[in-house]
Amino acid sequence: MTDQISNIAEKREMTINMGPQHPSTHGVLRLELDLDGEVIKNTRPNIGYLHRCFEKYAEEMDDYSKVIPYTDRMDYVSAMNQEHGYVIAVERMLEIEVPERVEYIRVIMAEMQRIASHLLGIGAFGLDLGAFTPFLYCFIEREKILDIFEKTSGARLLYNYYAIGGMIKDVHPDFKKDTNEFVKTFRPKIKELNDLLSGNKIFIKRTANIGVLPEKVALNYGASGPVLRGSGVEWDLRKNDPYSIYDRFDFEIPIGKGEMGTLGDCWDRYIVRVREMEQSLRIIEQALEGMPDEGDVTEGIPKRIRPKEGELYARSETPRGELGYYIISDKSASPFRVKARAPSFVHLGLLPAISKGALIADMVAIVGSIDIVLGEVDR
């Protein structure tokens, strides 16, 4: 026994598994870590534990609209954004326009979902680093958003609310009132969150200068969303490749500036999410004001969905980054090929690059800061 221990101590190098049932991997993810003492030499992410082959399901559906519930289950904490990405792709294939009111409802839903998703991401990030209270505060606010979603769509997580060419049904009569109320009460809560977590000395010590992702590396690895913006790149598909009606709204793209340490560290990625919530509130306010009161949201839904032959790649900005759908149509009622390009999949791929040389405890901070959802990684 003592011989064995001294052998390990001499060698110092070992490989350990983090996960698949580790609380800070945010799902079932296994990281093989090659360690030298406490220092990470190499990281090998092992994924696939939640693989359901979404793409095969999509190809075997006899209708494009039957794919929508499956998209919900990809990134289950931002299901509205997932549906939005898919419906705009199919609508572009059909070359149809959707009514004004639908566009406004979609944008409000997508931005509310962005806030809900960021709250979960931020809360869980804090929790990973030992800050328990902000997690509960975030969940109080997230719950309010889910209540609004539940009133309208009937579901709290997996909504199946967007339809190709419209929405499944109109919003609840209280929707405008509830949303306005939420926007009003939520703004001061962001300040509270900043006081609790963003400026917290211990939190800054754990996140600043950790997991630095330089701009060039980020682009080469295909990073997008808050991960790319945290590295100082002003890049947001809502502005740079506008879809839906995002070009009508006035909002800013928050980027990392290296305020607490190095540009592109964990704190930068975190603060981008906090600031994005404020911008989402601005969009929601403008959209609530501009939303037409009248209009049938179901009238534009086509009875028969059969795109002509062709293919396209459509992308949209989800809370995690660029969600792309590559769809090939062969004129039949079901898609010939659907490929989902999930941002979490790409971001997990760059984990080995930013965790080299970090301490094993910092791995928790790095995984939390790229905010992955395993349902989307494994599809």
Binding site: I47, G48, H51, C53, E55, K56, E59, R92, M93, E95, V217, L219, N220, Y221, G222, V233, W235, N240, D241, P307, K308, E309, G310, E311, L312, Y313, R315, E322, G324, Y326, I328, S329, R337, K339, R341, F345, V346, L348, G349, L350, A353, D378, R379
Partner: protein, 161 residues
């Protein structure tokens, strides 16, 4: 910023017309079909040329064409500096599905190529870690092929319907 046609013309000036062809269908986006053996050379040019600067690979997808008995790989590129997009496509026969890896050009390709191997069965030459990614290493077949039949048992466990 260039349109797909302009990018195609720019490429044919550099590489000649034999290895490249411009294709489009009734709807959607056009693409450039590239001879498999040329894909790495073309990709490198697309990334480094000062008038193209395709710095990101947005998506890489494997496709199975059962009628032609071919496999395809689609590359969707984007330039954040010049804000233009282009799609490339490579087609190889099922019997010899080898495509040069572009991992050395865009690191994103590493995982995407592993996924295309796992799901469709395209072999990427010179890939640094050519292994399955979503399925277990000892899984049989490639699920996204149109003629795929799921194995009945995996390590003695029934795989179900």
């Amino acid at each position: 910023m260039k349109t797909p046609e302009e990018i195609f013309n720019y490429l044919t000036n550099q590489f000649g017309e034999e290895d490249l062809s411009f294709e489009s269908r009734d709807i959607g986006q056009p693409w450039i079909t590239v001879l498999a053996s040329k894909i790495r050379e073309v990709s490198k040019f697309l990334r480094d040329d000062s008038e193209l600067l395709f710095d990101t690979l947005m998506c890489l997808s494997g496709i199975h064409y059962p009628k032609e008995e071919e496999l395809g790989v689609a590359y969707h590129l984007h330039s954040t500096k010049l804000t233009h997009n282009i799609a490339l496509k490579v087609r190889v026969p099922e019997s010899k599905p080898n495509v040069p890896s572009v991992e050395s050009i865009w690191k994103t390709a590493n995982w995407h190529e592993r996924e295309a191997w796992d799901m469709v069965g395209v072999v990427f030459d010179d890939h640094p870690n050519h292994k399955r990614i979503l399925l277990p290493d000892d899984w049989e077949g490639h699920p996204l092929r149109k003629d795929y039949v799921q194995q009945e048992f995996y390590q003695g466990m029934p795989t179900g319907e």
